[in-house]
Symmetry: C2
Subunit: 341 residues, 2 copies
């Protein structure tokens, strides 16, 4: 097959503070000839996730992205050429690809690929039925263990994971309070997502509002933001509370990282006989099929909505990741390159 023009965004610099467009470098090259075992994938849509800030910076639960290599992203693509058994031209695949038109993959290690069923919607696969929705599912159910009547608080509540977490908690009979930025998101949480209350951290005193909306204390706190809000929640946990550590987006762009504002009120875990528990969605990989089936059913029944924030075109990738950290996104942040053929 002839070489194809391949536009790419390479990682040019490790971010310092907020991610900048200049942390990426535009590049145009040609696709290489495939070796045995490789496939050439045309990227259709990219997922944007707070954890990418970590991949850009340092080795974490996976190696850092090397400088000069394409920016790594969760993506759905379509096979255009295959020298790999089990994958054929036209197949839809999901995995960690790059910010580029075409990715060559041997499907090894962290770059393992999943073949998607024909007709799968790439947008849904990267949001509610992808890592985002699965993170909300396992964090809320497996880590949080909600009981009917529990008071469930989630931060980053209008975000991709937070909104789904709150809706799942609501399905399980919890009283659900979301913390989000701005009146539009808060209104959406209560009117569309079915939350019992929303707290606008940009315009309200979060501590006072938590005290008001959680008169019996917080039974489950799903933390996406870390920092001061984690501390305000820890100060208000009920006996036997579960604090689900999912992320700390308020801290990722701080030069001191999460160490800049560690949880001063952790000691309240002792007084309340409570626990703070972290997880990565990959820890639950063996249970993905069951979770996807249940999320699909809830979505079909209208019990869980899939709020997405869709941007367009490879050129827009750097601007789009920055939306995540400024809070400009409303729902799952995605970028679409093309429809499947």
């Amino acid at each position: 097959m002839a070489e194809l023009k391949n536009r790419r965004w390479l990682l040019a610099a490790r971010p310092h503070g907020l991610i900048k467009e200049s942390d990426f470098k535009w590049d145009e090259s040609r696709t290489p000839a495939l070796a045995d075992g490789q496939v050439l994938v045309r990227n259709l849509a990219f997922s944007f996730d707070p954890t990418q800030r970590g991949w850009m910076s340092m080795d974490t639960y996976m190696p850092a992205i090397p400088l000069g290599e394409p920016m790594r992203a969760g993506a759905v693509g379509q096979v255009v050429e295959s020298r790999r058994p089990g994958l054929a031209k036209g197949d839809l695949v999901q995995g960690l690809f790059g910010w580029e038109d075409y990715t060559v993959s041997a499907g090894e290690g962290i770059f393992g690929m999943q073949k998607l069923a024909p007709g799968t919607d790439p947008i849904l696969a990267l949001s509610l039925l992808g890592t985002t929705g699965l993170t909300a599912y396992f964090g809320t159910l497996a880590v949080g263990q909600p009981k009917s009547g529990d008071t469930f608080v989630v931060s980053g509540a209008a975000g991709a994971t937070g909104s789904v977490a709150g809706m799942i908690a609501k399905l399980k009979g919890c009283r659900v309070v979301g913390i989000a930025g701005g009146p539009a998101k808060c209104e959406w949480l209560v009117k569309e997502a079915g939350f019992d209350a929303a707290i606008d951290y940009k315009n309200e005193n979060v501590g006072a509002a938590l005290t008001k909306h959680c008169p019996k204390g917080i039974d489950i706190y799903f933390d996406n933001v870390g920092g001061e809000i984690l501390d305000l929640a820890l100060a208000r946990i009920a006996n036997g509370a579960r604090v689900i550590l999912c992320g700390a987006i308020s801290q990722y762009n701080e030069t001191a990282g999460v160490a800049g504002h560690p949880p001063k009120n952790y000691f309240n875990l002792i007084f309340r006989g409570a626990r703070m528990e972290g997880f990565l969605v990959f820890h639950f990989a063996q249970k993905y099929p069951q979770a996807v089936a249940e999320l699909s059913q809830w979505y079909a029944e209208g019990k869980v909505k899939n709020q997405i924030d869709l941007q367009h075109g490879l050129e827009s990738a750097p601007k789009t990741i920055i939306r995540l950290f400024t809070g400009a996104n409303f729902g799952k942040q995605l970028l679409k390159l093309a429809d499947p053929e």
Copy 2:
């Protein structure tokens, strides 16, 4: 009954930094006449516990000790006069009494009393078979959930709770590493208490020693000290680790309290799918009889030792509590006033 002379230590000041002898005021008064429902208890022995620093300072899980009132302590005493049904002269009782020769108690609220079996050893009742041993028991077994082969690390390892926690973990098949201050304590941990290794935080680099003694990471960390050592342990937890929050004695005398050195590495709980869980022994009150029975059996069989540090005389009470926070004590810190009659 005639009034008796009653020597007392009253709380004179809320501590600032390390507890000082001048935080207490010596007082001599007379015992009052009893009202219906009250008993007069002669105090035989006092327990000294890090949590008393909190009671002296502020309302926590129980109200702060009022200034001008006797210092509150876990104690065993003997009834000398009773106007309370179910308690008679000569009965041994355990509860929260005061640093004084005689305490008048109505056994209400936090001052509820337990009647002890005749012949009970007050020293054993205040150490291995009291709050100290029960804290180690429930923290290690119920919160930590040890499995054979787990690497179990405990700080404050030569202290009352830490030493018992390590010995219980050893009984459950764990590899046990203790952190303590000074070569004498470390030698005792390995030679007498049966620990696999000991780290002398006063003379060793704790981080490097943890890395050396825990090559597969830490499966369970029983934290009695908080501060920097908690952070060093969090940095080395294994997948699925349990961090048992029992105390933070390194921080109680800091003017900023536990907020002065919160756990910067808490975020590693996410990468490791691990949890940090607090508890108060009172949360397990319904299971005390079973725990006391099991601890008694292990003690009788020589599987768990009861290391105590016994001081004498009411006059010595302030000096004795200070021993806890300077690390001078070796094992459970107790003060004996008298033998039962």
